[in-house]
Amino acid sequence: MRDAFEALAAQDPAAVAYQHPDPAALVARIGADHRRVALPGRFRLAIAAAAGVSGLVTVGLVAALSVNPALPMLAFAPTPAPVFAATKSAQSPTTAGVAMSVRPVAGHFGPGDSLASAYQLMVPAAGLDATMGLGAALGVVGTIGGYNGTTFSETGASGSRITYETTTGIGRWRYSAGSTTGLSPARFAAAIARQRWGYTVGLDTRTGSSPVLVDGSATTLRVSLTVHDGRVVAASGPAFVVAAMVNYRLRSPNDALATTYTERPTVATSVALAWSPYALTDGFVWLLPTFVFRGHSGARAWTGLSLAVRTATLTGTAG
């Protein structure tokens, strides 16, 4: 009979040793993040979204809502012009926005003004083609390898590298310049715009990250850049297409705040709207409208995130 500790060791969830997909990009990111506090994935995105994401919609003071649940009507603010508009390219003029791939679904629309769209996201088909297309656009042309069923990689001259993962419902791409000098931010932005993904993004010329826009709306998904001596040496971001769109009625921010943060010794002073990815129980990934609250808890600044639609109304699939 197997010993207790042999049995325990056999249950190790990390039986296959972890290997970061791109250690060079990891080191570059760590150096770039040296002066700021980074949080993992979704959490960092939430805070960044509340910190001034373009295209957010300010809907008022939650403090006032706590005594007056009647909401002011949502009013969309214009999106500030990005430094680089990665929305169109000469080669693919139809890639702006997501109009080509959105499939409106009947039966979910209702009267009233407090409606917001949700978007079903799908990983672009043909990971090998996606990898090669991105590689060609970014000047990484070489050996395709490392395919393990969910991840493709392409390694070009001087160690430049593309990886393309499809493990999380939303594809994710990474770029590392290796020992090359990298790309100019303008060329990099143009390359991303050519990918026919379901989003647009305005990229900065400095190290940092920028939210991607879907149908003109800011999301909590971001494209991250590491810029050294004016050249993009590492980057990562999402890859998806929009398969469907559904309109949902927004719930009260006050209700969202109360049900999400039941233990809060917190005062929310503003709320904005952003779109965050969620995997529904049927396995499909949707960008859902989300309230981003800002305020304070004691003397500390506080940011919270909550779904802006009632979960009971989520259909799971768009039919």
Partner: protein
């Protein structure tokens, strides 16, 4: 000087990223595999920020201690949101300690017999391969205290494992 520090960072990442990634993967729940790379990056960002405080003769347990704090912070944030958003949590999305261990009910029974600290000690020792001294360093206890508590955890785990009725 700067180049030296950068190359030292590269060495630390190269030497310890697998151990850190494995440590985090074993305890991800309720986070998902999609968060893993970000957690590793966050861990080494903190390591880089506090590079001078890292003991040269005990780098791995010190880094695991950082990863532990990073993971706890991320899990707390996730759980604050999960009460309401449970209905849209991915189903069967990713492996977690609980999900995997439950595959062997007998092992799960043994682990459930332990307190949080004892379970953490046992898993650091058995899964992460840390010595008693390193376990003590991660959990900020003396080596003697770690040895006593680890021995107690092993004894209790084995007892509950052995008593499990297969029927």
């Amino acid at each position: 000087m700067r180049a030296t520090r950068t190359s030292e960072l590269e060495r630390v990442v190269r030497d310890h990223q697998a151990a850190v990634g494995n440590y985090l993967r074993r305890r991800l729940y309720p986070l998902t595999d999609g968060d893993l790379d970000d957690l590793v990056a966050e861990t080494f960002t903190v390591v880089w920020r506090r590079f001078d405080a890292m003991p040269p003769d005990a780098q791995l347990p010190w880094i695991i201690g950082v990863a532990r704090n990073v993971l706890h912070n991320a899990q707390r944030s996730r759980r604050r949101r999960s009460a309401y958003e449970g209905a849209v949590t991915p189903r069967g999305d990713a492996s977690s300690t609980e999900d995997v261990v439950v595959a062997d009910a007998r092992v799960r029974h043994g682990l459930e017999s332990l307190g949080d600290d004892e379970r953490e000690m046992l898993l650091l020792h058995v899964w992460d391969g840390l010595s008693v001294a390193d376990v003590a360093s991660v959990l900020h206890v003396t080596p003697d205290a770690a040895a006593v508590r680890l021995s107690r955890a092993r004894h209790r785990f084995r007892a509950f494992y052995d008593e499990w009725d297969e029927s």
